[in-house]
């Protein structure tokens, strides 16, 4: 394990970004989000980002291809540029788990090559949590926030950032920057362990840490689907889509065409199952009411996805939706209301 003083982090970032793109939490106009590191950027590793880290692999808007039309002829132009490797720094355990969840969507047959290219080229440097928020409930999904995986795992404790490579990619990155680091000793490791222990204690006491998900099993699909409580839960929902856009695992997208000045660009962009026109097609809409759309989101995360993915929930308990819902309705409340008797 290596270590670097926190006040030297900017040197580390400068070094990494001199050869590859570095994406990390940056504060712009008061809000922290993952963004490209540039000289003078206000890096902030102490708060949870507003949006999740999924942008790096599944951007909010992404060009798929271009078309040129002339008369009756159509030409398809592949706009995919060769993806260069990049470093995604400061990913928390919950967001890291979200990549695994997204992988099960985008990397299963047929593979989404746009996602795959970025996923392969991204070096993920995770950061262990030491100060969870009240909205966090990653532990409910079996995530250890104090010990995230990734190509490199980092810990911040006592004025130092500790660095531990886990994979070949991580080792390669480490080789490139190791001049800036010092070797950590057992004393340091003890400090980290101490911190992990404290953090775990807090985690276990968080209000939503122990929400009972046991009621959400694929075999109860229809029963859950028809639960009468969806109505009261969805009543206040504005259908705004904030939750889906800050969510690390929401992966619904739309494919749209944009007419440029000399052709058509086809791009995909995030969409939200909360939107009224999400399922609207020429011949009608299969989810006409907000109740259906609201139910879809939570059923997908808690039942449909697990049903297709060996019981893995498509929620990581990051709590972003808990914080950002304009009317304070969220997945934790849904789980508590519908999920089972242990939640009272």
């Amino acid at each position: 394990m290596l270590k670097i003083e926190l006040n030297k982090l900017n040197d580390l970032f400068a070094k990494i970004s001199s050869s590859t793109d570095l994406i990390l939490p940056v504060t712009v106009a008061g809000e922290t989000n993952f963004a490209k590191y540039e000289d003078g950027a206000e890096v902030n590793l102490s708060v949870q980002t507003v949006k999740s880290a999924k942008d790096s692999f599944f951007p909010q808007a992404e060009d798929l291809m271009k078309f040129k039309t002339e008369g009756k002829k159509i030409d398809i132009i592949d706009v995919r540029e060769k993806v260069e490797s990049f470093v995604l720094f400061g990913v928390r355990a919950c967001d890291y788990r979200s990549f695994e969840i997204l992988d099960r969507v985008f990397l299963v047959d047929p593979i989404d090559t746009y996602y795959k290219a970025k996923r392969e080229k991204g070096v993920i440097v995770t950061l262990a949590c030491s100060r969870p928020e009240e909205s966090c409930f990653c532990s409910a999904f079996g995530i250890d926030a104090t010990n995230p995986l990734g190509d490199v795992t980092t810990y911040i404790a006592d004025g130092f950032l500790y660095w531990n490579a886990n994979t070949d990619k991580g080792n390669a990155l480490t080789d490139a920057v190791k001049d800036l680091f010092a070797q950590a000793d057992s004393n340091d490791e003890a400090k980290i362990d101490e911190q992990k222990k404290n953090t775990k204690e807090i985690l276990s006491k968080l209000p939503y840490a122990n929400v009972d998900l046991s009621g959400f099993t694929p075999d109860k699909l229809n029963e859950l689907f028809n639960d009468a409580k969806w109505e009261e839960l969805s009543e206040a929902c504005l259908g705004c889509g904030s939750c889906t856009f800050v969510c690390p695992t929401c992966q619904c997208y739309d494919i749209k065409d944009f007419k440029t000045n000399d052709g058509v660009k086809r791009f995909r962009c995030w969409d939200s199952c909360m939107y009224a026109d999400f399922t609207k097609m020429a011949h009608g809409n299969s989810r006409n009411f907000q109740l259906q759309r609201f139910r879809q989101r939570f059923m997908h995360k808690l039942v449909y996805y697990p049903s297709n993915n060996e019981g893995i929930y498509s929620c990581v308990g990051c709590g972003r939706c808990v914080k950002k819902c304009p009317i304070s309705m969220n997945i934790a409340k849904v789980i508590k209301t519908i999920g089972g008797k242990n939640n009272d």
Partner: protein, 146 residues
């Protein structure tokens, strides 16, 4: 600097109401009063048909300046259309300015059917102003230029 300006041909979209300003443009034409070729006129029935979305759309698509022309207040073919248009544009232009978009890029002129000279003068003047400002960078959509 001169060189650059010669090269640079600002694109100007002019929304003209059918009854006065479009006729004014026709009069400019029949009086052979020239104005830059990059002024492109879009005919609307009345200035009140001009939706702020059209103006933003023009900027998005690469216009460097947008001008709306209508009948003089009080002379609207539909009696009151240009009064509504005037309020809408006042507020819209103010908002664009507030967001930091150069105020000189937008303009409203009242041009009657008899004001061919005014039409041509206004267009020449406006184009010159936009030339000074250079390309529209603050309201551009990079995708359109690809």
């Amino acid at each position: 600097m001169q060189e650059i300006n010669k090269e640079y041909q600002p694109l100007i979209v002019a929304f003209c109401c059918n009854w006065c300003s479009y006729a004014g443009a026709d009069l400019a034409g029949s009086s052979r009063l020239s104005y830059p070729a990059n002024v492109k006129i879009i005919r609307v029935p009345c200035s009140c048909r001009v939706n702020p979305m059209f103006i933003l759309k023009a900027f998005q698509r690469g216009a460097d300046g947008v001008i709306m022309c209508g009948c003089h207040p009080g002379d609207c073919h539909y009696t009151t259309g240009n009064y509504y248009a005037r309020r809408r544009m006042t507020l819209l232009f103010d908002m664009l300015d507030y967001l930091g978009i150069e105020k000189e890029r937008t303009r409203v002129e009242w041009v009657s059917a008899a004001e061919g000279v005014k039409f041509s003068n206004v267009m020449n003047e406006f184009a010159a102003k936009i030339c000074e400002l250079g390309e529209n960078k603050r309201l551009e959509d990079l995708r359109c230029k690809e």
